[in-house]
């Protein structure tokens, strides 16, 4: 029972992640990706990080994926329905990068001592650390400067988005 939920969630996550890359219909891929993010939120809750779980859904599933959906719909989909044939150079490169990433993770896992798969969200101490209150104290007492810099970064993003999408006025 202890790790039953964890294993179930892992299976769902891996399955939907696999569906994301194998679906031909990009809209279906996006929906599966939303499911993956939902599962991630589940993992966060199990780890006692409730605030992060909510943020994960608000920002990734609720905001970024809607943007992805817009982008996919913005492109003309009929041309993408029949992508067939041999993978090109970029796709080969992607496969190599994926294998390499897998090897790095494997190497890391084999070197780390005593990995525990039992999530710790039930531990009251850990649970308290995941709250918005705890996070806010850390963010606004010890990490104020990075926070302000993040603000500047977001400003840059606003400028970039407007510059890209808005035509100059005559």
């Amino acid at each position: 029972m202890q790790s039953f939920m964890f294993i179930l969630l892992t299976i769902v996550t891996l399955f939907s992640a696999l569906m994301v890359v194998t679906r031909k219909n990009p809209v279906a891929s996006i929906l599966y990706l939303v499911l993956v993010f939902f599962c991630f939120a589940g993992f966060y809750v199990m780890l006692g990080a409730q605030f992060l779980a909510a943020i994960q859904i608000i920002v990734y599933a609720g905001a970024i994926m809607v943007l992805f959906l817009f982008v996919v719909m913005l492109l003309n989909l009929r041309d993408m329905d029949n992508v067939e044939g041999k993978p090109n150079a970029w796709q080969n490169l992607g496969i190599f990068a994926g294998i390499g990433m897998g090897l790095v993770i494997l190497a890391y896992l084999s070197g780390s001592p005593g990995m525990s798969i039992a999530p710790v969200g039930n531990n009251p101490e850990v649970y308290a650390m995941g709250s918005a209150k705890y996070l806010g104290k850390a963010l606004f007492m010890d990490f104020v400067l990075p926070f302000e810099i993040a603000g500047v970064l977001l400003l840059a993003a606003v400028v970039g988005a407007v510059a890209l999408a808005k035509k100059k006025r005559a």
């Binding site: 859904i57 609720g62 809607v66």
Partner: protein, 351 residues
Amino acid sequence: MTETIAFLIEKSIVAAGFFVVVLGVVAYATLGERKIAGYFQDRHGPNRAGPWGILQPIADGVKFFAKEDFIPDRADKILFVIAPTFTFMAAGFIMAVIPFGDRLTIFGREVLLQIADINIGILYILAISGLGAYGIVIGGWASNNKYSLMGGIRTSGQLISYEIAMGLAIVALLLDHGTMSLRTIVMQQSGAIWHWSVFTHPIGFMIFLVSAFAEASRMPFDLPEAENELVGGYHTEYSSMKFGLFQFGEYTHMTLASGLIITLYFGGWSIPFVPIPENPGILWGLLTFCAFWAKTLLMMFVFMWVRWTLPRFRYDQLMNLGWKKLIPLGIFNIVLTAGLLLVFQSMGLTN
């Protein structure tokens, strides 16, 4: 171990019970809406099924089941079926954190009249209602119909624009309460009637109310299904229960959004000037439950009242209202609230 099983049984009963209550309210909200529309337009509204038409929701339900459930040939079959369930679930999941009442003691067990009192309650609601956009966009896209697609895209643009304004209103509220647990927020508003947040956060309340109307796609904001432009909007191609789930989802959203407004700004289940007892009996629990629903039904009446009074926005007006009025107002409201709180704190008052 027995404690865990008792906990699971208790929560399952509470969840199923509340779901039945919400469904009942939703079913009769559809009748109420048509009755109210009738009186606003000087006619009777449905009055054939049973006395005063009170069996109308049941007749509607039977009709939904008896209609043919077909999928247009050119639609994306799987997504077409998933979309309405998505909308309905996103609306229904909100139920999990709404405090429907205080506690009551039954069979020697203290039962909380709320499914889950989690410490990120408000964020949970924002997160789940943010997912509601998918059902409508996917439904519109999967139908492979131009009206549906336009309705779907309009909706997502509208929903995401007003989500920011709603978030800003909630930030101002959190400044005051200092917690995201909805139960604690209700407790802090109990006692005198002027403890209600609507009196301490009038600007935030206005922003939240307008955003809630937009998020529920209710009348001045019902562009997703503007019938004179888009036929039925995103559900043009839907029939039978798949259409029914869209409709149900919309009314569920309206019901729970009213409940949320009541919880955040009108003291939730608390009864003004009545202290919360140490050892609540069954009576107290039922009383708070009724108080919650009485307030919520009034709020739902406001939703319907507005629907049959105001004309629909044009899309550019809608976007302007969201981005150019509500968001700057929301930021101003946060600064104002924070500043006032600081002043009160330095004067030694605890608001």
